[in-house]
C-alpha cells in the first residue's frame, strides 16, 4: 500500500473507527465539560489537536531513545506524563510570549489538557501501533500524524456534541433530564452511531 493510502487508513481509523472519545472512551471530561458552547469547543478542539501532535512527537523520541534503550518500558506512563506536562508548560510560555493572539484563544485550554488521558492515550497507543500490513511499527512521522488525526477525531465529536447541546438548550424537556443527564444519553447515542463505522473495511 502506498504511503498516501496508509495515511488515509490512519486518518479514517483515528477519526471515525477508533475515535478517542466515542470508541476508546478517553478524554470524556473535556468532551462533556467544554461542549456547552460552540466557540469554546472550537478552542478546546484546536488545543487538543496541537497538544496531541506535539506529545506524539516527543513521547516517540523519549520511548525510542530512552525507554527502549535502557529496557524500562514499564515506566512508560510516568515518563510520558512527565514529558507531556513539561512540554505543555513550555509551549504555553512560548506562545504567551510570542503569539499573544494564539494564547488568548488556546491559553485557557492548554493547562486543562496537560495530563488528559486522551493525550497520554495517544502517546501510549502510538508505541504499540502497527501499520495496516500488521508488521511494521509506527515510525516518527506515523506517530506524529496519528496524534494529529486523533486530535481531529476528538475535535469532530466535540463540535458535534456542542452543536447538539446548544440545540438541546432550546428544547422543552423534563427537569430531571436537563443538563448532564441528557448530555450523557446523547453521548451514548453518538457512541452507538460511531459503532457503525466499525463495519468499514479499509
Amino acid at each position: 500500500m502506498s504511503y498516501l493510502g496508509e495515511l488515509f487508513v490512519m486518518a479514517m481509523t483515528a477519526i471515525f473507527i477508533q475515535n478517542f472519545v466515542l470508541s476508546r472512551f478517553l478524554g470524556l471530561c473535556p468532551y462533556l465539560g467544554v461542549s456547552k458552547k460552540l466557540d469554546s469547543a472550537i478552542g478546546m478542539g484546536m488545543a487538543v489537536i496541537f497538544v496531541m501532535t506535539m506529545a506524539s512527537a516527543f513521547t516517540f523520541l523519549i520511548n525510542k531513545y530512552l525507554l527502549l534503550r535502557f529496557d524500562m518500558v514499564y515506566l512508560q506512563t510516568i515518563a510520558f506524563i512527565l514529558t507531556i506536562a513539561a512540554l505543555v508548560q513550555f509551549v504555553e510560555m512560548v506562545i504567551q510570549k510570542n503569539a499573544p493572539a494564539l494564547y488568548k484563544s488556546l491559553g485557557v485550554y492548554l493547562p486543562l489538557i496537560t495530563t488528559n488521558c486522551a493525550v497520554l492515550g495517544v502517546a501510549i497507543l502510538n508505541t504499540g501501533a502497527l501499520r495496516s500490513d500488521g508488521v511494521t511499527p509506527y515510525n516518527f512521522l506515523d506517530s506524529v500524524l496519528n496524534g494529529f488525526f486523533s486530535g481531529v477525531g476528538f475535535t469532530v465529536v466535540l463540535l458535534a456534541m456542542a452543536g447538539l447541546r446548544m440545540r438541546l438548550d432550546m428544547v422543552d424537556m423534563p427537569r430531571s433530564m436537563k443538563g448532564m443527564p441528557i448530555a450523557l444519553i446523547l453521548a451514548g447515542i453518538m457512541a452507538l452511531a460511531f459503532y457503525g463505522f466499525m463495519g468499514f473495511k479499509i
Binding site: I62, F70, L75
Partner: protein
C-alpha cells in the same frame, strides 16, 4: 558473603538506573522550564492580578467589557473608571480605587425593575395560544407575540433564565418577582427582555411606573390584562413636586435623578399604574414646637401644602395630608422637623 554483595549490587543497578534516568529527565525538564520562565517572561502589571482578586468573578459583563479579567486590564491600561462593577458595588469600587491609588466616586447601587404589571396567568389577555419554543425572544416573532398588549410582558421568563444571581423567581400566578437582596444590577435581564421592560433603578427609589405601553389610553386599557395601564393622562407629571415625570408617546417615565421618592404620583394615578413600595410605610413630618421659629420655608417647599402657620408663629403639619417626602426636613434651617 560475596554473593550477597553481588546480588545487592545487581539490585542497586536494577532500581538505581531507572531512578537515575527518570530523575535526570525530571531535572532536565525542570531546568528547561525554569530557564524558559525567565526567557519567555511576560511582564504583567501586578495591579491587574490584584484587581482580578477583588472583583466578584461572575464575568457578567455589566461593566461593558469582556469579563472581570478584561475589566481589570482596562482599569490598569485603558484608564477605565473603577466604579463600573455592578455586582461588586461600592465596596469593590473602594477596593479597586485603593489598589489604583485613586478616589472612587460613589457608585449608585441599582436594582432591576420590570415595567409591566401583566404577564401572569390571570392578569394577561391573550391573542392566541402560543405553543412554540419556550422563550420570549421566539414568541415575540410570532404575529407580534401571544399577548394582546404589544408592549407588555409575555411571561416566558427569558429574564429569569438570563439572571446569573438567581434573583428572579416566579410566583404562583406566574409573575416574575425580583429579589432586591440578590439583584446586582448586572443588566443581563435588561438585555434579555425583547420588549425592553426592565430598567435599572436606584435601590433607594421605590416608586415605579409598572407599564410600558405607548398605546393611546383607550387602546392601552382594552388590551391590558392587569387593568393598570399607563394611559398617558399626565396627572402624575403635573402633580410631581420636582417635575421628575415626563410623558412621551402616551407613556409616563420617572427621571430617577430628580425623583425624591415621595410617592405622590402613585396616589394620584387614575389607573393605579404606579407602584409605590413604601405606600403606607412612610413616616410623617412633625415640627418640634420649641425649635420652630416660624420662617415659613417648610410650608413653601411642601408639595401637598400640608404645613400651615403664620410668619414667626409655630407651624403645624396636617398628618392626613403629609405624604412623607421629607423635603421640609431637608430645608428646615433649625432642624426642627422630624419624621415620626
Amino acid at each position: 558473603m560475596s554473593l550477597i554483595i553481588l546480588e545487592s549490587t545487581a539490585l542497586l543497578g536494577t532500581i538505581g538506573i531507572p531512578v537515575l534516568i527518570i530523575g535526570a529527565l525530571g531535572l532536565i525538564f525542570g531546568l528547561v522550564l525554569a530557564i524558559a520562565s525567565k526567557v519567555f517572561e511576560v511582564k504583567i502589571d501586578p495591579r491587574v492580578e490584584d484587581i482580578i482578586s477583588v472583583l466578584p468573578g461572575a464575568n457578567c459583563g455589566a461593566c461593558g467589557l469582556a469579563g472581570c479579567a478584561g475589566y481589570a486590564d482596562q482599569i490598569v491600561h485603558g484608564g477605565e473608571a473603577v466604579n463600573k462593577c455592578a455586582p461588586g458595588g461600592a465596596a469593590t469600587a473602594a477596593l479597586i480605587a485603593n489598589i489604583m491609588g485613586v478616589s472612587a466616586d460613589a457608585m449608585q447601587q441599582k436594582v432591576a425593575v420590570i415595567h409591566c404589571s401583566s404577564g401572569g396567568h390571570d392578569n394577561t389577555k391573550w391573542k392566541y395560544n402560543y405553543e412554540g419554543v419556550n422563550s420570549c425572544k421566539a414568541a415575540v416573532n410570532v404575529a407580534g407575540g401571544p399577548n394582546s398588549c404589544p408592549w407588555g410582558c409575555l411571561g416566558l421568563n427569558d429574564c429569569q433564565a438570563a439572571c446569573a444571581f438567581d434573583a428572579i423567581s416566579v410566583d404562583a400566578n406566574g409573575m416574575r418577582v425580583i429579589d432586591f437582596d440578590k439583584c446586582t444590577a448586572c443588566g443581563a435581564c435588561v438585555k434579555a427582555c425583547p420588549r425592553g421592560l426592565i430598567q435599572l433603578v436606584p435601590i433607594n427609589r421605590n416608586v415605579y411606573i409598572k407599564c410600558s405601553s405607548k398605546d393611546k389610553g383607550p387602546e392601552a386599557k382594552s388590551v391590558c390584562g392587569s387593568t393598570h395601564p399607563c394611559i398617558g393622562c399626565g396627572i402624575c407629571s403635573r402633580k410631581c413636586p420636582v417635575q421628575a415625570i415626563t410623558i412621551t408617546d402616551n407613556l409616563a417615565r420617572i427621571d430617577y435623578d430628580k425623583c425624591i421618592n415621595c410617592g405622590l404620583c402613585a396616589t394620584v394615578c387614575p389607573t393605579k399604574a404606579i407602584q409605590d413600595l413604601l405606600a403606607g410605610c412612610r413616616k410623617k413630618a412633625e415640627i418640634d414646637p420649641e425649635s420652630c421659629i416660624g420662617c415659613t420655608i417648610c410650608a413653601k417647599v411642601c408639595p401637598v401644602s400640608a404645613i400651615s402657620g403664620e410668619v414667626k408663629q409655630l407651624h403645624v403639619v396636617d398628618k392626613d395630608v403629609c405624604i412623607g417626602c421629607e423635603r421640609c426636613v431637608a430645608k428646615c434651617p433649625k432642624k426642627a422637623i422630624e419624621m415620626v
